[in-house]
């Protein structure tokens, strides 16, 4: 039985390195054999206070494959939330109807608060720009699967490193595994100093670049993110830098054979479609891995693994 039974997953720092590994190992078992009806006596509530395609479907697919029943909503419209019910009351009520709550809510810190008022465990499926820990777990799973290890890797992070919450969580998690970080972004969207400080505190190294080409030969993982026009106060600035973080198939000549490209999706134009056919593209499998990781988390938290 996992040590994760009855635990909440709100922030990536809630779990230890050993616990991440535990989840990844369980997820590997689900990849081999995804349809295990071990939660057939459980009810999972998926509360999505804002729309999400991939995350919600991935959680619901995972719960279904484990035989759990699902209750919840994909949009608060038409629920008591729209009538002005507080998050507190919604969570107290739903926790009396279910064994586990999966929640996405645009308010930052809402999942932590929900976990404090809920009588059943809560998994954070994204609380605004704050945390999205299951995305980070599936990123770790994808890195380990493609590289055979999480240790001593060269991780290139590309695009919006300032606002991208997936990037911040991945850095925090990979600081446990002696990674070297290569940071590629427009000057305006550099990694915040507090996140860089956590790299330094872990005794690890990072290098900053503005041109994506510079990191191609060294990277084991290229983690792409979207550079959004609305992040730039001056549209001219956006036009100037927007192409510096676009990855094309031509640029991949000279990369390491083991290199794989990840992206939390949705992609817009930052990875051109000709990359999809190369052996380095891994972003669609990465999304699929999300189902195994979420199966592992639900099974472990509900004491079935």
């Amino acid at each position: 039985m996992s040590t994760l039974k009855g635990r909440n997953l709100i922030s990536i720092t809630d779990f230890t390195k050993e616990e991440y590994i535990q989840v990844l190992d369980i997820a590997e078992g689900f990849e081999q054999n995804p349809k295990q009806k071990i939660l057939s006596d459980k009810v999972v509530a998926t509360l999505f206070f804002e729309p999400s395609t991939r995350t919600r479907l991935s959680f619901e697919s995972a719960a279904n494959q484990l035989g759990a029943r699902i209750i919840g909503f994909s949009d608060p419209g038409g629920t008591s939330v729209q009538k002005g019910e507080s998050l507190h009351d919604t969570i107290v009520m739903v926790s009396s109807y279910s064994d586990l709550i999966v929640m996405r809510n645009p308010k930052e810190g809402s999942s932590r608060y929900a976990s404090e008022v809920s009588s059943v465990p809560v998994i954070n499926a994204g609380d605004g720009a704050n945390q999205h820990p299951t995305q980070c777990m599936l990123d770790l799973y994808s890195i380990r699967k493609t590289q055979g290890t999480l240790d001593n890797l060269n991780i290139a992070l590309v695009g919006d490193l300032k606002y991208g919450r997936t990037v911040h969580s991945l850095v925090q998690a990979m600081c446990n595994f002696n990674a070297t970080f290569h940071l590629v972004s427009p000057v305006e969207l550099k990694l915040p100093s507090s996140v860089k400080m956590s790299i330094k505190d872990a005794g690890l190294k990072y290098y900053q670049y503005t041109d994506l080409k510079d990191i191609i030969p060294t990277a084991d993982i290229i983690y792409m993110t979207r550079v959004q026009r609305e992040r730039f106060p001056d549209p001219m600035e956006y036009e100037r830098v927007k192409d510096s973080c676009i990855l094309t198939a031509d640029m991949l000549k000279g990369c390491k054979p083991n290199m794989r490209i990840l992206h939390p999706l949705p992609r817009v134009n930052e990875i051109t479609t000709d990359v999809d056919k190369t052996p380095y593209a891994y972003y669609f499998q990465q999304a699929q891995n999300g189902v195994y990781v979420r199966q592992a988390l639900m099974a472990a938290i509900l004491g079935a693994k």
Binding site: E108, G109, R112, Y113
Partner: protein, 153 residues
């Protein structure tokens, strides 16, 4: 002149004197300590000459002694304040305000998107840097600093 001086420093028989408050923080200190609703005598002096601060504020509260928790709140706005307990016109205790490791309820999170600013959720912070006053919200994990700190009504 003698009279004026007497008024400013007039002694209280029993209660607390909070000395060495930065002039801009006197009214914040009053609010944090809930003295607006206090029914006994409260004497407030501000822009008084101070060897330590140049100018300072001072608050005297009759028949009131503060808990350590309450004193630590003062430290957030007046890190150099001295808290003097008076009994029978004598100083019985003199202590300095110290910033606590954790703060609950009376500070607002500076992040407008934080759940504590959207619903009735008591705030909780870890103090990560006492010298520069940096608080990390227990809920949204964002920082509230000296520049952005606001207190609950």
């Amino acid at each position: 002149m003698e009279n004026k001086k007497e008024l400013v420093v007039s002694a209280i028989e029993n209660g607390t004197v909070i000395d060495h408050i930065p002039t801009e923080s006197v009214y914040q200190a009053i609010r944090i300590l809930g003295l607006e609703k206090y029914k006994d005598e409260v004497l407030i002096g501000n822009h008084l000459d101070s060897g330590k601060l140049g100018k300072k504020g001072i608050i005297k509260i009759k028949n009131k002694h503060f808990s350590d928790d309450e004193i630590s709140k003062i430290a957030l706005v007046a890190p150099f304040a001295t808290i003097i307990d008076i009994e029978d016109y004598k100083v019985v205790r003199k202590s300095n305000a110290e910033i606590p490791d954790h703060i609950e309820n009376f500070v607002r999170c500076a992040n407008p998107k934080c759940i504590t600013n959207a619903e009735v959720v008591p705030t909780r912070f870890d103090v990560v840097d006492k010298e520069n006053l940096k608080l990390r919200c227990h809920y949204c994990e964002k920082f509230t600093t000296k520049e952005t700190i606001k207190f609950s009504e």
